[in-house]
């Protein structure tokens, strides 16, 4: 039951699909200037950027989980006027070119922004801070989580929630002990997508949070700057980013994707 021979057409398409991903990555590895640029990778700047990338992308994922799972729940469960519109609005940050997304964030949370002026008055500044970079990454990556979790919520069998309520579980307990575990594969998939997008994020971050080493310069920003003058370093930095991410993704395996 757990193993299966795939239909031939499916298998053929899947192989084309994999090849399409693997060829470019192979190209990158094949052309990476291993010798000449290896030294660049262990510079303190590169390591700082790498560390910062993980801090920011993980924080963004955590923030997206915190805000996005409830949002998905509301979209899936509470019908209200304008829900379709609001849900669509939530998807827009994905469509917005990230640089424009960064500009929009400046308009909202910048020192002269709609909301940022109030923040500035109480001494909180978001742009050009690590927290600003987290916000920028969350802004572009959270829609992935929201939509994935909503799809999971919609395809789960809601009668389990009914059963839990007759057992005396209030909405919150139902959510935490029945709904969340049942949609765990979707939450996990959404979190991985969100994390990956946040890790690769560049346009909104450089615009909203700037490119300050140690504070907001993530690896993709370092790559971008290096591309200007030393593309081989940029490629090596990307390979490092990929290698580390790959290790993490493989380590997580399909443990949380597994159904019951």
């Amino acid at each position: 039951m757990s193993s299966e021979r795939p239909p031939a057409l499916l298998a053929a398409l899947a192989i084309v699909g994999v090849a399409f991903f693997i060829l470019p990555l192979a190209g990158l590895l094949a052309r990476a200037p291993w010798q000449s640029a290896l030294g660049e990778l262990t510079t303190p700047e590169a390591l700082t950027a790498l560390r910062l990338s993980f801090v920011i992308s993980l924080a963004a994922t955590a923030l997206a989980l915190l805000l996005g799972v409830p949002l998905a729940w509301i979209y899936a469960r509470v019908p209200f006027r304008g829900r379709d519109l609001i849900r669509a609005l939530t998807t827009l940050p994905m469509i917005l070119p990230p640089v424009v997304g960064g500009v929009a964030l400046l308009f909202a949370f910048g020192r002269r922004g709609l909301f940022g002026q109030a923040l500035d008055a109480i001494g909180i500044r978001l742009p050009f801070t690590t927290f600003g970079a987290i916000l920028a990454a969350t802004f572009v990556a959270m829609p992935l989580l929201v939509l994935t979790v909503e799809a999971g919520l919609r395809s789960m069998d809601r009668r389990y929630e009914d059963a839990a309520r007759t057992l005396g579980a209030g909405r919150w307990i139902v959510f935490r002990r029945v709904t969340l575990p049942l949609i765990a594969p979707s939450v996990f998939a959404g979190a991985v997508l969100c994390w990956a997008r946040a890790l690769g994020e560049f346009g909104a971050t450089i615009t909203f949070a700037g490119n300050l080493p140690g504070t907001t310069q993530t690896l993709p920003l370092a790559v971008y700057i290096a591309l200007e003058t030393r593309p081989e370093v940029a490629i090596m930095l990307s390979v490092v980013l990929l290698a580390v991410s790959l290790a993490i993704l493989v380590a997580m395996r399909d443990r949380y994707l597994r159904a019951f």
Binding site: G102, L106, G113, F128, P213, E228, P231
Partner: protein, 233 residues
């Protein structure tokens, strides 16, 4: 603030927003400047000049703004956030070709050849506009397969062999010397890009910021810039 900080000389941060084509040159210039001014620590924020201008007009904490073109500096001036910019460098155009110049391109006229895959920067970005001016001066009508978003993209296409030629800045060819070769453009067809720099309003230490600008325009500064391919202002 810990008491021990007061014993060492007070360090002042100078935040410099600069076009990303200045990355290596400013890093070197900054190092050189701090040799004589040990109280200074530079924080560089490199990005595209338009992004930087947008950031500054939205309240970014910049002390110095060095733009790769005059239009973006003008935006900051218009917002009243800087005064009296100075031109500290200029840049000339070159034809970038793959190493060894396999298609034997000798000048702008060759770019019209049908066997040449040509890429230019988009006409709305400075490098593209200058390239079109240069081609016009040479009386050449060229058909690029792509109008790249910036010079770096042009350079990439050439260095990866996707394009046979592109028009870029001298500094770009210099920094990518390992992968591309440059074909000079004669003076009468040349177009020159100017780099303005100014102290931003609200700078923490405007005097120190001004010193850095003075340094860039001084002979020592100019020597470092020239080392990266920039011409005098």
């Amino acid at each position: 603030v810990s008491p021990s900080r007061t014993e060492t000389p007070q360090i002042t941060d100078v935040t410099v927003f600069a076009g990303s084509s200045l990355t290596d040159a400013f890093a070197r210039a900054g190092d050189d400047f701090t040799k004589t001014n040990t109280r200074v620590r530079f924080i560089f924020n490199f990005g595209s000049s338009s992004t930087l201008a947008t950031q500054i007009t939205n309240g970014a904490p910049a002390d110095v703004f060095a733009s790769a073109d005059e239009a973006n500096m003008q935006k900051v001036l218009d917002a009243g956030l800087a005064k009296s910019p100075r031109t500290f460098a200029s840049n000339e155009l070159q034809i970038a070709v793959p190493t060894g110049n396999p298609k034997r391109i000798a000048g702008l006229a060759d770019l019209a050849r049908p066997d040449i895959v040509l890429v230019l920067a988009a006409p709305t970005v400075p490098a593209g506009k200058y390239a079109l001016e240069a081609l016009a001066k040479a009386g050449v009508t060229a058909r690029p397969v792509s109008q790249e978003v910036d010079v770096r993209a042009v350079l990439n296409k050439v260095s990866l062999g996707e394009a046979d030629a592109g028009i870029v800045y001298v500094t770009d060819v210099r920094s990518a010397a390992a992968r591309v070769a440059g074909v000079a453009i004669p003076d009468q067809q040349q177009v020159v890009a100017r780099y303005p720099i100014a102290v931003v309003k609200g700078a923490k230490d405007p005097q120190l910021a001004g010193q850095f600008i003075d340094y860039l325009t001084s002979p020592e500064g100019q020597k470092i810039l020239a080392g990266f391919g920039f011409s005098r202002p």
